[in-house]
């Protein structure tokens, strides 16, 4: 079965501070949605691959975030830890349309209907 993401409107772009992030609560755990200085938007599981720190609370710089617990730097595009650290956080599709942020969640086709 091919699975397509369902795009869910989670809020306005302006609701996320530039160089910042907001959390989206889901039954599978929180998702961090980031907005960079140049308005690119990324979504990553809100758990640092190191010790589970909430990435949404970190400092956003360029297209990276520094985890607030132990300063791991995570690439927002890939979810991968940068530098000497190894690990990867799951990324989710996200896009902006008419200043609304749409988060792509995977769900079974029959359930989405």
């Amino acid at each position: 079965m091919t699975r397509h993401p369902t795009w869910l409107d989670i809020g306005a772009l302006a609701d996320i501070p530039r160089r910042g992030a907001r959390q989206v609560a889901t039954p599978d755990g929180p998702i961090a949605v980031f907005r960079t200085h140049d308005d690119a938007v990324f979504a990553i599981e809100d758990r640092c691959p190191h010790k589970g720190g909430p990435l949404s609370q970190g400092i956003v710089h360029g297209a990276s975030v520094t985890c607030p617990l132990h300063n791991w730097v995570i690439d927002l595009q890939t979810g991968a830890a940068q530098g000497a650290d190894e690990g990867c956080a799951r990324t989710l599709p996200v896009r902006v349309s008419d200043d609304r942020v749409l988060l792509g969640l995977h769900m079974a086709a029959e359930q989405a209907a």
């Binding site: 996320i16 200085h37 589970g52 360029g62």
Partner: protein
């Protein structure tokens, strides 16, 4: 046929035009009308006449014989009141007329008189011509009092002249620094210090409200109510071109008489020169461009065709003993660079402003020998890239082949002072480097103190290291802030001030950051530096703060937060304790712990509960304890004379006062304090960033202790007799740390780097400096002491405490 040239005005500009004309063998028949009853004299030299260093006779440029020799008809004391352009004839106030083929307007300028009440009282003077000087001298009896309004070139010269005549002088200046049009702020302050040193009082930011007096001046009143008694008031706030005569004749006039590059007015038979002129939007008041205009006119009258295209101007203050030179444009701008040399001990300040490898501005104070050379380079637009490394040292170092900058430093004498702040000379630095085998700048700073205070001599010190160590010297030893820049913390702090950088994006642009928006290392540091440098002005950037400071609580390993309310001096009440207990129950807070800083920590609070928790705590009068901040944490105390049988002072009371004074201030790293009531030291004050140990005779002040990763006893700063002095000294030390500390550098590390003695010298041995630090701290606290919890209870940063969205269960099946 002889042509007729009529000149209106007999100042220096027409004088120079006529000289050029006569030297070229002109056949003009010249008539001059002069409203003043005099020949042409050198107005630039009025100040020495005022001060008594010269007489009128000594400053005459053209005596009566000069006019005779050149067949000039000079009408002294006759003012031209009308120009009939059709008949080409002028009419003077006494009825004298003269016809012209060419008319030269040189009506000069008038001093601006501020129209405040009382400006027309007898005793209110201007400073423009010899009449003004004579009026001042008549009033300037020894012991008389004068107020000079205007701290520009003329005002200061007038003030200095009067002061030399024994007059008690006060200068009022509207702007924050003197001569702000010619000098940058640094030179302005040096100038003010020098002016005040000769006994002239200076009040800056002084707005004149009224000139007081019934039938003669008795004083000046400022907007803030200050009254300054005065026998004479000299207005020296500026000049305005005299263009009325031209305007009445229908000649085009804007601020001044409009002229083209040949100095022709809108009437092709009428030329204009001097201070009455507006050329390409500029009205000149300094002699060099005016003379240049005059020469242009003279040569064109001789039949040449030359143009005046404007001229850069330079300024020298003509006050004996004050050496000051400025030229060009010296405002900071993005595309400009600067080279600065300061020698605080000698009172020397030199600043060159560069753009595209050319000098566009020069400010010299204290040593102006190279002024002319720099000015020539400026005027010629010389490419200085080859000279750049030694440029600031002046022409002496710039001869022939480009010199290695270390050669210039090598040429300095052994006793040449390198570091003005700490009085360190060249031989001491070189000797210490060799004797102790130092290889890094930090080591040199630690051992010699050179470059460890303001840092402006860092370049020179580095050159000395290169000179002494040769290849062993690695300049990269200056630790950059982070990978986003090659600059170290001290350089960044210095440049924030020097370039007036006021936001993170502006700073990253100006200092050529290598990343688009920094990183998690530099951004919090920059946010702190900007906040500490521009209190009340800088807009705090929450996104550049670590999460704890952004949400005013401490993040824990599971992503929950801890909340620590402030307990002033460790004191609390049953009511506060009840409120804390109620909050713990209501929000099911799993852990309640007593901290090492004499307060209570609520651990495991969910982020979304934080505002409600704070609201309940606020309601009981509890505010943020800043347990998360690079700022004041706690002031630990013992019970002191209130209860303790050994207590010598009210240590609890002083602790509370300290905490009330210091809370809310942002610092490079956390700051912990303590006050012990006696030398038994129950509050453990001797391992704190700042500590007080009370003794019978007063308060022993300690600082630079640590009991974290490193354990270090404090250094004794001094002993003071009163609580107030203890408080003031504490604020001064912390302010110095705020200004010099590198981000995340604890007090003890900062003190170790700059030297305990240096700190002591600045806050203990120099009461003026201590006072200034204290006042800067108080000023910055005005913007810092607002409870961040109450702000967030009221709705600030609400987005921090709620999810952006919640995805319902059925939609998230995966």
């Amino acid at each position: 046929m002889t042509r007729k040239l009529v000149v209106v005005g007999n100042g220096m500009s027409p004088g120079r035009a006529l000289e050029t004309l006569f030297e070229g063998g002109s056949d003009y028949e010249v008539t001059i009308f002069n409203a003043e009853p005099r020949v042409n004299y050198d107005r630039i030299m009025l100040s020495p006449v005022l001060s008594g260093e010269k007489t009128y006779e000594e400053i005459v440029i053209h005596g009566d014989d000069w006019y005779e020799r050149h067949g000039v008809t000079l009408h002294k004391g006759r003012k031209v009141v009308h120009i009939d352009r059709e008949a080409r004839r002028v009419l003077a106030d006494d009825g004298t007329t003269a016809e012209y083929d060419t008319l030269l307007l040189a009506t000069g300028s008038s001093p601006v008189v501020i129209p405040v009440p009382g400006h027309d009282l007898p005793g209110v003077l201007t400073y423009r011509d010899l009449d003004d000087v004579e009026a001042m001298l008549a009033a300037a009896n020894h012991g008389a009092r004068a107020v000079v309004i205007g701290g520009g070139l003329l005002g200061l010269e007038a003030a200095a002249g009067l002061q030399r005549r024994g007059v008690d002088v006060t200068v009022l200046h509207l702007m924050p620094t003197l001569m702000e049009r010619q000098l940058d702020a640094s030179a302005g302050y040096l100038l003010q210090a020098a002016v005040e040193e000769r006994g002239i009082k200076v009040i800056t930011r002084a707005n004149t409200h009224a000139i007081l007096g019934e039938d003669r001046v008795t004083g000046v009143k400022l907007d803030d109510g200050t009254e300054i008694p005065a026998d004479i008031v000299v207005m020296a706030v500026g000049i305005r071109p005299n263009a009325e005569l031209a305007k009445a004749a229908g000649i085009a006039v804007n601020r001044g008489v409009l002229v083209d590059d040949r100095l022709l007015t809108s009437d092709p038979n009428v030329l204009a020169v001097g201070e009455c002129v507006e050329h390409r939007g500029v009205c000149y008041g300094l002699v060099a461009p005016l003379y240049e205009m005059a020469r242009t006119i003279g040569r064109n009258l001789l039949g040449e065709d030359v143009e005046f295209r404007g001229l850069a101007t330079s300024t020298k203050l003509k006050v004996t003993g004050i050496d000051l030179f400025s030229a060009g444009d010296f405002l900071d701008a993005k595309d400009r660079q600067e080279i600065v040399l300061r020698d605080a001990a000698r009172g020397v300040y030199k600043r060159l402003v560069l753009k595209d490898d050319r000098i566009i501005g020069v400010v010299l104070y204290g040593d102006t020998h190279d002024g002319a050379w720099f000015f020539q380079l400026l005027k010629d637009g010389t490419d200085i890239s080859q000279l750049r490394d030694t440029l600031i040292f002046g022409q002496g170092y710039a001869g022939g082949a480009p010199l290695d900058p270390t050669a210039a430093v090598a040429a300095l004498s052994d006793d040449a002072e390198i570091c003005g702040c700490n009085g360190v000379c060249k031989s001491r630095i070189v000797g210490t480097i060799s004797a102790k085998g130092l290889t890094s700048l930090d080591e040199v700073r630690a051992h010699t103190k050179a470059s460890s205070s303001c840092g402006s001599c860092t370049g020179l010190v580095e050159q000395l290291m290169a000179l002494t160590l040769g290849d062993a010297y690695d300049p990269a030893a200056v630790q950059p802030m982070c990978g986003c820049t090659d600059l170290g913390h001290d350089d960044v702090r210095r440049l924030i001030v020097a370039k007036g950088l006021k936001s993170i994006p502006q700073l990253m642009q100006a200092l050529e950051w290598k990343t688009s928006c920094g990183c998690a290392k530099c951004r919090p540091a920059l946010n702190y530096y900007l906040l500490a440098t521009w209190p009340g002005e800088y807009q705090d950037d929450g996104q550049s703060r670590f999460i704890n400071e952004r949400v005013h609580a401490n993040i824990q390993r599971d992503g929950t937060y801890s909340v620590v309310p402030r307990m002033w001096g460790g004191m609390t009440t049953p009511q506060e304790l009840r409120a804390i207990a109620d909050v713990a129950d209501k929000f099911a807070i799993p852990s309640v712990k007593v901290t090492g800083g004499q307060r209570i920590d609520l651990l495991g609070v969910k982020k979304q509960d934080l505002p409600a928790v704070w609201a309940d705590l606020n309601a009981a009068g509890l505010v943020s304890g800043h347990a998360y901040a690079k700022g004041l944490r706690t002031v630990k105390t013992c019970v002191g004379t209130d209860w303790c049988r050994f207590g010598t002072q009210d240590s609890t009371g002083l602790g509370i006062k300290l905490e009330k004074a210091m809370w809310g201030s942002w610092t490079p790293h956390k700051v912990k304090m303590a006050v012990s009531g006696c030398p038994r030291n129950c509050a453990e004050a001797t391992c704190k960033d700042f500590g007080v140990v009370c003794v019978d005779s007063g308060y022993e002040l300690h600082f630079a202790g640590a009991a974290g990763m490193h354990v270090k006893g404090t250094e004794v700063l001094c002993t003071v007799p009163t609580e107030q002095e203890a408080l003031e000294t504490c604020m001064a030390v912390i302010q110095l740390y705020r200004e010099q500390g590198r981000y995340l550098e604890r007090v003890y590390k900062w003190a170790d780097r700059v030297g305990v003695d240096t700190v002591r010298r600045q806050v203990v041995e120099d009461p003026e400096r201590r006072r200034a630090l204290y006042e800067r701290f108080l000023f910055s606290q005005r913007f810092a002491q607002s409870d961040p919890w109450a702000e967030r209870v009221a709705g600030k940063d609400a987005h921090e405490f709620a999810p952006l969205a919640t995805v319902p269960f059925q939609e998230a099946a995966e």
